[in-house]
């Protein structure tokens, strides 16, 4: 199953879902999905393995982790709230795929690693940036009273939770892609193949530097 639809443009202007705070800076993609779960030719089944080693001891006992916390087990779409440089390290799309399959349809955080951010956009998952103070406020509010939806508004560039609305940022290009439904860029890129061929032909290395 792909997290995206190949044919239709699906705008992602707003995501509404139950929030889950994942505290900590520099949470790398090895932690989100350890490499030993990537010996497969599909993304199937990754949802259950998201944050596996942070959630379970090696003998399978649950550890203290928000994804194991009964307060954060709501069904339906989820919004992860994170701190700085989330998704750093490996380019593995398995990381956002695992989170998506676990239920995360949007992220709100202080900053995102570039490749992780790009992977999320390509899957139609908005990652909105909020200030350190607002991230703290949102996390505190969610931990205090988690049973409310969080609204991630890509169009308005705001995040709202239980009466609290904070401003948020997202790179203009990614925002436009999400709002227009062009986050799945394949068709748009393929549509320009005649121009691609012209660009390629102008580059001397595609002609082996002959003439």
């Amino acid at each position: 199953m792909s997290a995206k639809n190949e044919s239709a443009l699906i705008p992602v202007a707003k995501v509404v879902g139950r929030p889950i705070p994942l505290r900590g800076n520099d949470i790398d993609t090895d932690r989100i999905i350890p490499a030993r779960f990537m010996t497969a030719i599909t993304f199937d089944g990754l949802g259950e393995l998201a944050f596996r080693d942070a959630r379970f001891s090696q003998d399978g006992q649950p550890l203290e982790h928000p994804m194991n916390d009964p307060r954060f087990q709501a069904k339906g779409p989820r919004v992860a709230i994170v701190n700085k440089n989330f998704g750093c390290g490996s380019s593995r799309e398995h990381a956002p795929q695992a989170m998506y399959r676990w239920g995360v349809k949007a992220l709100v955080g202080e900053s995102f690693a570039d490749i992780f951010f790009g992977n999320c956009v390509a899957m139609g998952i908005p990652c909105l940036i909020v200030s350190e103070a607002d991230a703290a406020k949102l996390m505190d509010a969610v931990e205090k009273d988690p049973a409310h939806d969080m609204t991630v508004d890509v169009d308005a560039r705001t995040v709202t939770f239980n009466g609290l609305t904070v401003p948020a940022q997202i790179a203009d290009g990614a925002r436009t892609q999400l709002l227009k439904g062009t986050w799945d860029a394949t068709r748009i890129l393929v549509d320009a193949l005649p121009q691609v061929k012209e660009t390629a032909a102008r580059l001397p290395y595609t002609r082996a530097f002959a003439g």
């Binding site: 520099d26 490499a35 080693d53 860029a185």
Partner: protein, 471 residues
């Protein structure tokens, strides 16, 4: 106002500006491996798309390949399935696949340069974050995810926004026993693992000018560890000489034409940068990571930093690192007992890395109780090393001499840490669980430092061993 290499290459490869404001960027070289590509090929099939530029994509197998035997079928059934998938995908779409029986298999970031595929002025993408390695040639090279691998297969393009450029000048002269790995660890230590987010790093200065291509590859390789998706060095005479005679590099008159074009993409002297950072080579010592990200690094003679010396915001990661790595803070890193020594990876698995490690290996024997692995970055590296007798040096010193692959850098093959083992590693990531055991511990350092740790059994300043060896 002049232009940086990044801007020149970006503009040359820009097909059009998209409605989003991003660039539709032509990708001159697409490299593929078995882990991040099978889903992309499936997406291509499901969508009924083709691969219009099959001759601009090259594939190999590196992450899952065992380093003891490459005999088929691979013992791990899932690994065999991945191997079969990349064979089938490459065959079906007409893509060159450097399988083990071609003699050119190896880590994708090692074989691209050694074959002459990687050239200055190209845009290079691969579903692997260490694609930044190829920036050593003055290429704009960066890692992508699987959906983007699909996009490159289907269109030879990406929808992507141009990064900012930070020039990092390293000036002076590196002391003996200080290597390119120490330079990159030092830079990440100083600028942080988040410092490069949104940036391309342009490496320059007298230290970088004096580096060999293999050293520049080590430097650019770890740009991503500093948060920069790409890093590059402007092409110069060193670059040109490396490329001369490579199997897939231009030959004869074409090489001369290529040389002119390659040099023309270098940053102009009056190029404008978004930021400039200067580093003094005299400040760089053999460097070791102590924590759970590559920015948590210190000189080998320093002590583990104290939590109180960090900002409140950084302290959480520091406390997490103490707990995971079993430090208190304040103790010296030198003398730390190791269980495993790993020499290899796309960071440090090239011939010059093995030569430097072998010089140290000659000075002793792997300490009893230490498992020491040398994994050449490619079959070609292995052949060259064997021609020089480096394999014999390593084996005589008690190291295991293995077959080419990513191996224990990320442990997707059978080479894994066990339990709480501590590994002195020439790889690029010390993340929790990175080397295959969910509780395994990684200390990153140069290949020479890993060899020193292997023969003493503890983290050791390689300069002390080298001094004794010369005495």
């Amino acid at each position: 106002m002049g232009k940086s290499l990044l801007d020149k290459v970006w503009d040359l490869h820009s097909v059009r500006e998209l409605e989003s404001g991003q660039t539709q960027l032509f990708i001159g070289l697409h490299l593929v491996h078995e882990v991040t590509s099978p889903q992309a090929f499936s997406m291509i099939r499901e969508a009924g798309l083709g691969v219009p530029f099959p001759d601009r994509t090259f594939a190999t197998v590196d992450h899952i390949i065992p380093t003891d035997s490459q005999a088929r079928p691979l013992k791990d059934g899932q690994a065999e399935q991945m191997m079969s998938a990349i064979e089938k995908n490459c065959r079906e779409f007409g893509i060159q696949f450097y399988s083990p029986d071609t003699g050119h298999q190896g880590i994708v970031h090692v074989i691209g340069p050694e074959l002459g595929l990687t050239q200055p002025g190209m845009t290079i993408a691969c579903g692997d974050s260490h694609t930044s390695t190829h920036g050593a040639f003055g290429a704009v090279a960066f890692g992508i995810g699987t959906s983007q691998v699909r996009d490159v297969l289907a269109s030879q393009c990406l929808a992507i926004a141009r990064p900012k450029v930070r020039r990092i000048e390293v000036n002076g002269k590196l002391a003996p026993g200080v290597y390119a790995k120490d330079v990159t660890l030092h830079i990440i230590r100083k600028l942080g693992v988040q410092g490069g987010v949104g940036y391309a790093y342009e490496y320059a200065g007298t230290v970088v000018d004096a580096m060999t291509m293999e050293e520049r590859m080590t430097l650019c390789n770890m740009s991503i560890e500093g948060g920069a998706r790409l890093g590059y060095v402007n092409p110069d005479a060193t670059t040109i000489e490396y490329l001369r005679g490579r199997e897939l590099a231009p030959k004869g008159a074409a090489f001369e034409a290529a040389t002119r074009w390659w040099l023309s993409v270098a940053s102009d002297a009056d190029a404008k940068y978004d930021d400039v950072v200067r580093i003094d080579a005299a400040d760089i010592a053999p460097t070791v990571t102590w924590g759970i990200n590559p920015g948590q690094a210190i000189g080998v003679r320093e002590s583990i930093p104290l939590a109180k010396d960090y900002s409140a915001d950084e302290r959480g990661t520091v406390e997490d690192a103490y707990q995971y790595m079993d430090w208190k803070g304040g103790e010296p890193v030198a003398g730390t007992k190791i269980d495993v020594a790993f020499i290899g990876s796309c960071t440090n698995g090239r011939l010059s890395d093995l030569r430097e490690a072998a010089k140290v290996a000659k000075l002793g024997h792997v300490k009893q109780g230490v498992k020491a692995l040398v994994v050449p970055g490619s079959q070609e590296v292995a052949r060259q090393a064997e021609a020089e007798g480096l394999d014999k040096v390593f084996v005589a010193a008690g190291f295991e001499w293995r077959l080419a692959g990513c191996s224990m850098c990320l442990a997707m093959n059978p080479d894994k840490l066990v339990g709480r083992q501590v590994c002195a590693s020439s790889s690029n990531r010390n993340f929790k669980g990175r080397q295959g055991s969910p509780s395994g511990r990684t200390l990153l350092m140069s290949p020479a430092m890993v060899a020193a740790a292997a023969i003493t059994g503890t983290v050791t300043d390689v300069r002390d061993l080298l001094a004794k060896g010369n005495a």
